[in-house]
Subunit: 197 residues, 2 copies
Amino acid sequence: MLEFWFEFASTYSYPVAMTVGEQAEALGVEIRWRPFLLGPIFADHGMNDSPFNLNPTKGAYMWRDLERLCEDEQLRWRKPSAFPRNGLLAARVAYALQESEAIESFVQAVYVANFVDDLDISMPDVLFDCLPPELEDPELALEDAMSDATKNGLRVQTERAKTLGLFGAPSFTVGEELFWGGDRLKQALTLAAESAG
Amino acid sequence: MLEFWFEFASTYSYPVAMTVGEQAEALGVEIRWRPFLLGPIFADHGMNDSPFNLNPTKGAYMWRDLERLCEDEQLRWRKPSAFPRNGLLAARVAYALQESEAIESFVQAVYVANFVDDLDISMPDVLFDCLPPELEDPELALEDAMSDATKNGLRVQTERAKTLGLFGAPSFTVGEELFWGGDRLKQALTLAAESAG
């Protein structure tokens, strides 16, 4: 079993969210989707903005790198007009859905909204449109996202991310073993496949 | 043609330095070895130490990640007792040798000294032992490294790195196109092979 840690503001989480399901299935690895917030983790390290905004040289590189990555993986990509977008509400919806079948298509739809359609994913109506049609009661999903249980659950999950040593997204954990970045997904999946065997 | 930018203090430059020659040859790509200094670049971004020391969470991850990477690539690895080591003199020797046949084996020997044998690569006698036996006059190589021409040449090369948008090591450039990290070596080599064709 592999836990996939993602943050909706994270550009590098997008290509992984689009492909991790397929790659895990090919190796017979079960995935748990783990939304968390980077804001509180960056704040612990004295950063109050994305590292890609704080260091514009690194930022310029990241935008070009993403373009190339998405081209290689044949994923659509558009640099969003605002960055980073506030992913708090989206993360709460994802947390409320994380044990349901709907999680993968919701997460993918939010990334596409942000990084392909350049929509403001902090808006409830944008997130509503990202909910998969098979959800029986989409209004309830948004209500659940605003409940105290969800708010607190996401906070606890972010604390767990810190305890596991996470400092960026996407990340993967297999037990206590941490992997950072899409470039380590194969290594993480291999470990997860071995651990399951 | 691909320019391979490395810094002797950089842990992630080590596995690349050990394998880039072979990988480039397999694709018929010519490599230029480009030592540079990260210190002045980090200083421009307000950092006066390695980012892995400034953010210990990221640092702890890096040490584990390096262990795993080297295991996967069957490279020896030992966490050095001091980090980062001062690579200024080593970079000057490498600059003086960068257009010679000796460059690859010198660079590899310095990385092995630092990250396998835990030797202080700021010491002239350690670097002397890293010079390949085919060098006619090894004493002259160290003298060249201390010349004003070399000191200035390395400074200019580091300025060029900044102009190309470098912010870390290892990096690769193919013309103006920048790639950061060993995980982008294949992409960079592919572009270089296409550009040559």
